[in-house]
Symmetry: C2
Subunit: 232 residues, 2 copies
């Protein structure tokens, strides 16, 4: 258990890590220049991580010290490791919190509808059963019924990015002249969709899409494309 590892939900192929919250931590670790392993877990295995106590991913195992919650992990990394700052200026924690709130309340509810079928289809069978039950409870509908709203929500999605688009029209990164945890949070939401579909919801000329591509390039992340998607 020595070293640094992130527990992560993953497709049945063992390759496609799809959780937006895990992606925030992947970028934060890369930002800090820290090496780490991704440890795929199923929904059922989350409750068994480190003997129990966690109900969601990411969970960070930092040389035996366990941390849950992506924002808490970022705060821990900032305190424990020098190198690039995740919150480099006064007000950056507040900015990151507001971006997190924006993603959790504006973007992620739409994305959870848009990619519901792809998420289901990529999961191992036991996860599919769990996922179906959780979605049935939240939406009072089956996966296939929720998925019928996917195209409509995808059409509404670009306009929801208006506040971050306004930011990115004036500066290169959400955090300012250099990327920081506020960028990682927004990247996590868009990368969730990208991993599930291999495609983008935004036109290439959208400043948000350009920032997303820039962010992937900056951290050396190869973006999935449709021809790489087993289920496409």
């Amino acid at each position: 258990m020595a070293g640094m590892a992130v527990y992560s939900l993953c497709a049945a192929d063992g390759l496609r890590h799809y959780s937006p919250h895990v992606w925030k931590v992947i970028l934060a670790l890369k930002h800090k220049g820290l090496d780490f392993d991704l440890r795929p877990v199923s929904f059922a295995e989350i409750s068994q991580i480190a003997g129990g106590g966690f109900s969601s991913v990411p969970v960070l195992d930092d040389h035996g010290r366990l941390e849950g919650d992506s924002f808490g992990i970022a705060l821990h990394l900032e305190q424990a490791y020098s190198g690039n700052r995740l919150f480099p200026h006064d007000g950056q924690k507040a900015l990151a919190r507001m971006i997190e709130h924006f993603c959790d309340t504006v973007l992620n509810p739409l994305l959870s509808v848009i990619v519901v079928q792809q998420m289901h289809d990529m999961m191992p069978p036991a996860d599919q059963e769990h996922f179906r039950a959780v979605r049935r409870k939240r939406f009072d509908a089956e996966i296939e019924e929720i998925a019928m709203r996917s195209a409509g929500e995808a059409g509404r999605f670009p306009q929801k990015l208006a506040p971050v688009r306004a930011v990115l029209e004036g500066q290169r990164w959400i955090a300012g002249d250099t990327p920081a945890f506020a960028d990682h949070i927004l990247f996590g939401s868009l990368q969730w969709h990208r991993v599930c579909t291999g495609a983008s919801l935004l036109p290439a000329e959208d400043p948000v899409e350009q920032w997303f591509q820039r962010c992937a390039g900056h951290y050396g992340i190869a973006l999935p494309t449709p021809d790489l998607m087993p289920s496409a």
Copy 2:
């Protein structure tokens, strides 16, 4: 027309300036240490400011140069005047934009219901007529019907502040160690309610309420109390 002035919507008493967007600019001007006059206008008079072209307040008259839109005014003040910075660190424009989005989409829709009756009652008769028509169009209901939802929305309001409460539990100001335009924006929303009711929606021990009082104190703003309200 020399000097600095802010056109502002005001109660019939000529004293109670209630627009949240005007309050952002009032604090920004105080933050910069600039003297200014408040020029009360009615809804009908907005379209006549400086010969036309504006459809909302605030409008800033900076020695003959006219600026509309509270965020645009803040950008202008930051560029034109030294003194305290409104965006003091990298990322602070993004933070202010996200706080603005949070206020516009989460807080202000609730507040517009909560104070609908008090706003109406404090206005000059011509403004009341305009206000009633606009509200009828937006809510498909009369002022008195909208006001029936006021207590319910007031009960839901404190929990809506969760993301800024999380910020203010860890730092003194939204912007960090010192206040900046991000603080002014949130103050504007809460001050709108305060001016209309003379009361607070939050318990005294709420970190957001403590920040609000701190903000008023920092900028020398005497908060209205119920016994100062003509209509209470």
